[in-house]
Symmetry: C2
Subunit: 381 residues, 2 copies
């Protein structure tokens, strides 16, 4: 199989990740539960992973790196834990349902109002909308770093400048960019950064987290046992325990820690350059094919930073039909449909048929991109 | 190390679990995301795991088995998703903070009132309290299946009869019993069963779940992408998607699935008998030691079903001092302190020093129990 669905998950984890998880499954205790060597060793693994995440993403404090089971949980915590009843929140049409549904819920249940920065017909954000949407009760901006549909990277410097000019909290969804695009939350002025472990970081599923800038209060989400302050009725207030209840995914975090080493040693710039070259190689070939539409800024000259995700359509075919043909005839794995980003399809006019998404990863080759392009050409003819 | 902290986590996973996780880390796609073989294979792994959980725990429908990252998340979902503002809830002094803190939060924020079935000075539930606590607005009983402090198993048949006589919803925390004690939620009339994967089931950390009886509505907890119904503002209403948002811990669930095979093939009765024999062997030896207090019903003749968890204290020593001595002098891993079950210690008069908990697992031997007993005797003298 030629696997081009790395934006959903990266299926081949590096050997060091498998080795770390295997070792953990053979010996790991429960982190922060007790003081015997099994528990202490687990605690060290978890804390080292926090330090590596903090280093990779520019989080000022390792103890403000909180682990969650996925980016969706991270975004639920970040949004429900900072937005208050009556607030106005600015977000964008590029967002995934992991941002939209927590916001829609606050809109329905807590009197929160929402403003959406539009995406244009190619799925690119209309940046002037940020100022246009501002209201006296605007408190928060929630914004993706990169579209999971088009691979377009949002200019976070611009979004951050807007947020800070108006004293707004900036929450960023880095699910699609972490490990794929250099990202420093302190340099970019991000207050809360949500990430996943199993995509661009090449870690296990069941990992992800939140990096919180020092001084930002995120209310507890799930509450329960923490191994400390057992007699208090409330969750402890200090990070990371504040946002972590119950046994952590120690085995997954051990793998994530090894994956962070893999990414750091390989170098994000190296990974990004490899993936970008594959995506460009694919785009150049399919853009020349009659009947193929490419979305986003991939065809814009000097488009700057992008992830290696490319959405296309072929003639007026349903994206599922194209993706099925790619899978069944060519053994090429892509993803059709809406990609859980409904507003993007409303902007791009693809609500009825979605798009076919090709997303490249570190383990793909130029040959994979070429074979995919040949397959698209054959389907289009 | 002699590891006697299996109630916190079982550190040695069976070979089949390691093999399953390793295989998943080498090839697994994202379950329920797309229709290529990588995703479909992941979906099959996840669904088979649901079927195995349903079979093991007597859940009527495999699609009503919901996966969570731990039992704490499961309990947060079960409690926040069923209890309504103004309800009265009956629970017990045996509960872990994963039950207590979600309930205390509802008490503080939603006008929910709580009644606690007392534990006696040995930590055993005072069953008559259930009737005594009943009020017109009582709607729910939340009850552990087994104390994580004493290993006492609650008579769920009695609790269930009470709940059903009064039309109350019964939520059970099976964190300490699943895999260790036979448990059939349908036969016992349990409405919502919360479990963990990394203790008695010998699966990976980062796994756990909720089994919901058909017809019981649990409101969504985290919301977000599900791979289906992308254009709806709300989480889909059908189980299991209703309670699962974002990428599942597919790697962990693959391991849990193998672990469920291990438990089924070994036989819960066989596991329970082995563990009970070790716990009894240990209790018999330490109970005879001058200055040792054993909590719970371990010394009660014909005590019936118990988990292999034993809490003791030695003279007036702090439990941490004893546990540290066991770790440092004897290389025996136990857990001291409150075990996140504060009300138990208030009942047992051990608030100031906690208890030393010894919890045996399938991979322990009679020699482990004997060495632990010798160490306790030496510390006591």
């Amino acid at each position: 199989m030629i696997y081009l669905d790395n934006a959903a998950t990266t299926p081949h984890k590096p050997e060091c990740v498998i080795a770390a998880v295997t070792a953990a499954l053979s010996s790991m205790g429960n982190a922060s539960r007790g003081a015997h060597e099994g528990s202490l060793a687990a605690s060290r693994v978890v804390f080292e992973a926090r330090e590596k995440v903090a280093r990779l993403l520019g989080c000022g404090r390792a103890d403000h790196v909180v682990f969650t089971c996925n980016a969706t949980e991270a975004l639920n915590i970040a949004i429900a834990g900072t937005v208050n009843a009556g607030d106005h929140v600015i977000t964008t049409d590029l967002e995934h349902n992991s941002v939209l549904r927590p916001l829609y819920r606050l809109e329905a249940e807590r009197g929160v109002s929402l403003g959406f920065v539009r995406a244009d017909e190619c799925g690119r954000p209309v940046y002037d909308d940020f100022e246009r949407l501002l209201r006296p009760n605007t408190r928060t901006v929630v914004c993706t770093h990169a579209s999971n549909v088009t691979g377009d990277v949002v200019d976070l410097r611009r979004v951050s400048a807007f947020a800070h000019e108006h004293g707004l909290l900036l929450i960023v969804d880095a699910s699609q960019s972490v490990g794929c695009v250099p990202l420093d939350m302190t340099a970019l002025g991000i207050d809360v950064l949500c990430f996943t472990g199993h995509k661009g970081l090449y870690g296990p599923q069941g990992t992800g987290g939140i990096c919180v800038r020092e001084g930002v209060d995120v209310r507890p989400w799930k509450v329960g046992g923490t191994g400390v302050s057992s007699f208090s009725h409330e969750q402890p207030t200090a990070y990371p325990t504040r946002l972590e209840a119950g046994t952590l995914n120690g085995h997954g975090i051990a793998g994530l820690s090894a994956a962070l080493d893999f990414v750091a040693e390989t170098g994000i710039e190296t990974i990004a350059a490899h993936e970008a070259a594959l995506a460009s190689r694919f785009v150049e070939q399919v853009a020349a094919v009659d009947g193929v539409t490419v979305y986003g800024d991939a065809l814009v000259p000097d488009h700057g930073c992008r992830t290696a995700t490319v959405s296309i359509n072929v003639r007026d075919y349903d994206s599922s039909a194209v993706s099925d043909a790619l899978s069944q005839t060519y053994d090429i794995a892509t993803r059709p449909g809406a990609h859980c980003a409904p507003r993007m399809h409303e902007s791009m006019g693809t609500t009825d048929r979605g798009t076919v998404r090709f997303s490249f990863g570190w383990f793909n080759t130029a040959g994979d991109a070429d074979e995919a392009a040949v397959a698209v050409r054959e389907i289009a003819s």
